[in-house]
């Protein structure tokens, strides 16, 4: 299988401009800017059915087509490089190893949506990514690959790099926009959607790093080529993350629809120390748990939705059978409790409350009616808030209980246990 996204991942330093150009970088941008109209770019990306790699899998071309065709004032591209989903570490590879690929994708997307400024919002902890991109932007600007009159056309583009300050919620696109503007990183109520009212109140498209990295190849090789890769409903290669106690954790470029088993066993080399698999998280913390017997599932958005979960970011986390599921769930619930922005009452209180209930189960102080309570916390918060964060914290706890109910039962305090009504701090 020919790789295209992860060609330089084994490098220890970013690929410089000269080398990148030698490998064909910016050639596609040059041809497209000179020969194609913005709407032709959008049509090509639509035809390729490139779906967003940030987790929601929304078709990129469709999103671009919401942008004004004859903008009155500035439109913006905002690149989501906040990569905060636990189990996900693929965007950083792209940025640290092949920053010019991302820049070329940014150029093409900006051209398509008629934006002349692109903001690149990089996760605060990603210092190496930040440095690589600052350098790449400098190189590109010096080589007149950014700035005015690109490739002799009248298209111009500036890229502004902005570092986040360490909040997971700022990966949600409208929280990201608030943060970018210097406001509190809280998702905005929608509508209005970013394509109407985005960064600084202007029409804006937000795209994930990996989404944009696919764009130069689609325009170079054509939509047909792309559509023939991977799962028909969500074509292309995906940078799968693999973490947990496997022999070879890392980022693997594979077609969508690859089975989890192939990832874990073939590419990851199986579990270390002969451990058995208990469960796995298919696509980042918020996608919850699947039991070991689901390992043959094909990793594409539709198949996983049928299994009651999501492909998310494609970050697989392996849970071995010597880890109690309640402890694994608690790792996530603590994370989500910590990271909800907290503006919506059901999310703020629900994330904290359910974390405290799980903590009691972990201490063996669960109650029989806590099972209903957790269901009700999920029911009262999911689809009831500004963003989908409650879905994220509810996923792990609901799936943990659904697939491993017996383990939770053993966390219920025995009736004759004098400590059964636990009033210690969670």
């Amino acid at each position: 299988m020919e790789k295209y996204l992860s060609l330089h991942f084994e490098r220890s330093t970013p690929l410089g401009l000269e080398e990148a150009r030698a490998q064909g970088r910016y050639a596609t941008a040059e041809t497209v800017l000179r020969q194609k109209a913005p709407d032709e770019v959008i049509e090509e990306v639509k035809a390729a059915n490139l779906r967003g790699r940030g987790g929601a899998w929304f078709p990129a071309g469709v999103k671009w087509s919401f942008m004004p065709k004859e903008p009155q004032g500035p439109s913006y591209l905002v690149v989501n490089a906040d990569e905060g989903e636990p189990g996900t570490f693929k965007d950083r590879q792209l940025m640290e190893k092949n920053p010019h690929l991302l820049l070329e994708g940014i150029l093409l997307a900006s051209y398509a949506i008629r934006a002349h400024t692109a903001y690149l919002y990089i996760r605060g902890e990603y210092l190496a990514s930040y440095r690589a991109l600052v350098q790449a932007v400098k190189e590109a600007r010096e080589a007149r690959l950014l700035g005015p009159n690109l490739f002799g056309t009248d298209f111009h583009l500036e890229v502004v790099i902005h570092r986040g300050a360490g909040a997971y919620i700022c990966g949600e696109e409208t929280a990201l926009l608030n943060s970018l503007e210097g406001r509190r990183g809280e998702p905005r109520p929608k509508p209005p959607f970013p394509a109407v009212y985005g960064a600084f109140g202007r029409p804006t498209t937000v795209n994930n790093v990996e989404t944009l990295a696919n764009v130069p190849f689609i325009l170079e090789r054509g939509a047909r080529w792309f559509r023939d890769l991977g799962a028909p409903t969500a074509p292309g290669h995906l940078l799968f993350g693999l973490s947990g106690p496997v022999r070879r954790p890392g980022v693997y470029e594979l077609p969508t629809g690859t089975t989890a088993r192939e990832l874990v066993e073939e590419h990851g080399g199986g579990l270390i120390g002969g451990k058995a698999l208990k469960a796995f998280v298919p696509g980042g913390a918020s996608t919850g748990f699947l039991p070991a017997d689901a390992l043959d599932v094909e990793m594409d958005p539709e198949t996983l939705r049928e299994r009651g979960t999501m492909l998310g970011t494609g970050g697989i986390i392996v849970i071995p059978d010597d880890v109690r599921i309640v402890d694994a769930a608690r790792v996530f619930s603590r994370f989500f409790r910590h990271e909800t922005c907290g503006q919506c009452s059901p999310c703020r209180e629900g994330a904290a409350w359910s974390d405290r209930v799980l903590a009691r189960f972990a201490r063996g102080e669960g109650h029989r009616d806590d099972f209903d309570l957790i269901e009700d916390i999920a029911r009262g918060s999911t689809r009831r808030t500004i963003c989908v964060f409650p879905e994220a914290f509810a996923g792990p706890m609901l799936s943990a209980i659904r697939h491993f109910r017996d383990e939770f039962e053993s966390g219920v305090a025995a009736p004759d246990n004098p400590t059964s009504v636990a009033h210690q701090e969670a």
Partner: protein, 524 residues
């Protein structure tokens, strides 16, 4: 104008109306916390959920505050799904809420109590220890913050940002560590602080001035108008045992929107609860009693016939201004009806105008002329037999000190008592000192700077011996004040000013533009 159906009732609303306001128009209250009509939409408390059925889309639960009415919508505010959603939101909000109700100033007018009662579950399921946070901290000159009671609706931060234009309150932290706070080491400073206690739906922001003074259900309230500047904000005076304990703005789109300033709110607590209320009629050389006031005044009127110069007060009501004018009419010196316009203090561009001139517009309407203190002094100096009757103790005091003139009478509407207690004033400078009703003790109308006629209602009983200007002069004119079935004084006063007549009881709570009374006269 979209037409939609809410709980089976069809209604047409202006486009842009959200579902909370649309429901309100048919008398349906959708419970809400973060929504406030004067502030931007946060859509974060998730209390206002309703069910929305729209052509071509499956029914769904939406927040009413953020959803604009659209043609063909069918909204249900009491379907099973939204009831369940609201109960869930309440359960979340109550989980960590302290059980402070017995000692909380807000109890009785708290939306967390109210909505829990109407929409919540009877039983709590929260087993964990409650979250602890700062219980009482002073965040400004008037406001105490209790972070434990706060439900993080962000009305207060949005109010400070958007309305008070003093972005000094913030949400700090993330998730369940969120708290409302000020910038480190700083307090808020604004002339609009007091409103925070009103807009906070719970008892997280309370007034130092009202703290533990009364349970709210023990308060008696009356609608009135703030006298502290000529904006004339609609207010409600809240008293207990005749003591004014709290002043709150009344919603009035014609005048003040939803709010009022602190100069008005807290100033009134002092000026309406005077430690030394001037309450006894005094004829300064020998003491007399109230029942003689009419005789004394009538006698004075005749003694000084043709010499009267009346110094009116902007705190007189329109009715008082008219009856005084009528009583003195045969006895006035030429150009004898004047008032000294209040000095302009610095105002702000929100509500406070800086001009303490509650009813100056009304005085003008009744034929009083604005003049300066200097002008009065000159007139008195030029004609030493001028008989002065001042309804403003402060102004009288200044004339007295400068001119060493003699006042026939001072009938003070301010309780300022300067007329008799100014250090330089000699007692025998004033023939008669008559304490009058304060604004909070009388009924009548004021006209604000923008020509809106509003109604004052007496919220406090005046001490024995205090006189009503209106009644005193009506008696001099031998005109009954008003009796059942008779047109009242407001009706009469408006008529004598050539305006459309309207009895006091028919003046709407939000007032009425004087011009509309004129227009109707012209039209008919």
């Amino acid at each position: 104008m979209p037409t939609l159906t809410i709980d089976g009732q069809s209604i047409e609303v202006p486009s842009g109306t959200n579902l909370i306001e649309a429901s309100r128009q048919i008398g349906v209250d959708v419970p809400h916390y973060c929504y406030h009509p004067a502030l931007s939409i946060a859509a974060s408390c998730r209390m206002c959920q309703v069910e929305l059925h729209q052509e071509g889309a499956p029914p769904r639960v939406v927040v009413a505050c953020q959803t604009e009415a659209a043609d063909g919508m069918t909204v249900s505010t009491d379907g099973a799904d939204c009831k369940q959603a609201r109960a869930a939101t309440l359960e979340f909000l109550l989980a960590n809420h302290p059980l402070d109700c017995p000692i909380c100033d807000k109890a009785g007018e708290c939306d967390l109590q109210n909505f829990s009662y109407w929409h919540g579950n009877a039983q709590g399921r929260f087993r964990e220890p409650k979250r602890e946070a700062i219980k009482r901290t002073s965040i400004g000159d008037h406001i105490l913050l209790d972070q434990e009671r706060c439900i993080l609706c962000t009305r207060c931060t949005r109010f400070m940002d958007e309305y008070a234009k003093a972005p000094q309150l913030v949400v700090a932290g993330r998730g369940d560590r969120n708290v409302i706070t000020t910038f480190p080491g700083e307090k808020i400073s604004s002339n609009y602080e007091g409103n925070l206690a009103d807009i906070c739906p719970v008892g997280a922001l309370t007034l130092e001035e009202f703290r533990f003074k009364s349970r709210v259900w023990d308060l008696t309230h009356q609608d009135s108008v703030c006298p502290s500047c000529d904006r004339g904000c609609s207010i409600r005076l809240e008293t207990k045992r005749n003591r004014l304990l709290r002043v709150r703005p009344r919603e009035n789109p014609n005048v003040n929107g939803h709010f009022m300033c602190d100069i008005g709110r807290f100033g009134l607590l002092e000026s309406c609860n005077p430690e030394h209320r001037v309450s006894s009629l005094r004829q300064l050389d020998d003491s007399s009693n109230a029942p003689n006031a009419v005789d004394l005044a009538r006698e004075l009127l005749v003694t000084h016939a043709g010499k009267w110069l009346i110094l009116a007060s902007s705190r007189m009501t329109l009715e008082e201004a008219v009856v005084v004018r009528d009583a003195f009419a045969p006895h006035l010196a030429p150009d004898g009806l004047v008032f000294i316009s209040a000095a302009e203090q610095p105002g702000d561009d929100i509500l406070y105008t800086g001009k303490q001139a509650a009813n100056e517009s009304g005085l003008r309407l009744a034929g009083y002329r604005e003049c300066t203190l200097g002008e009065v002094r000159e007139r008195v100096a030029a004609a030493p037999d001028t008989a002065l009757w001042s309804f403003d103790g402060d102004v009288a005091g200044q004339v007295l000190v400068q001119n060493r003139t003699r006042f026939a009478a001072i009938m003070d509407c301010w309780n300022s008592s300067h007329g008799q207690e100014h250090p330089d004033a000699r007692p025998h400078d004033v023939d008669l000192f008559l304490p009058a009703l304060l604004f909070s003790e009388k009924n009548g109308t004021w006209v604000n700077r923008d020509g809106v006629l509003q109604r004052l209602r007496a919220a406090q009983r005046a001490p024995v011996g205090t006189l009503s200007i209106a009644e005193l002069f009506a008696a001099i004119l031998d005109r009954p004040a008003s009796s059942p079935g008779c047109p009242d004084r407001t009706h009469h006063s408006l008529g004598t000013l050539g305006l459309n007549r309207l009895p006091l009881s028919q003046i709407p709570a939000t007032g009425i533009p004087i011009d509309s009374l004129r227009a109707e006269v012209a039209a008919s």
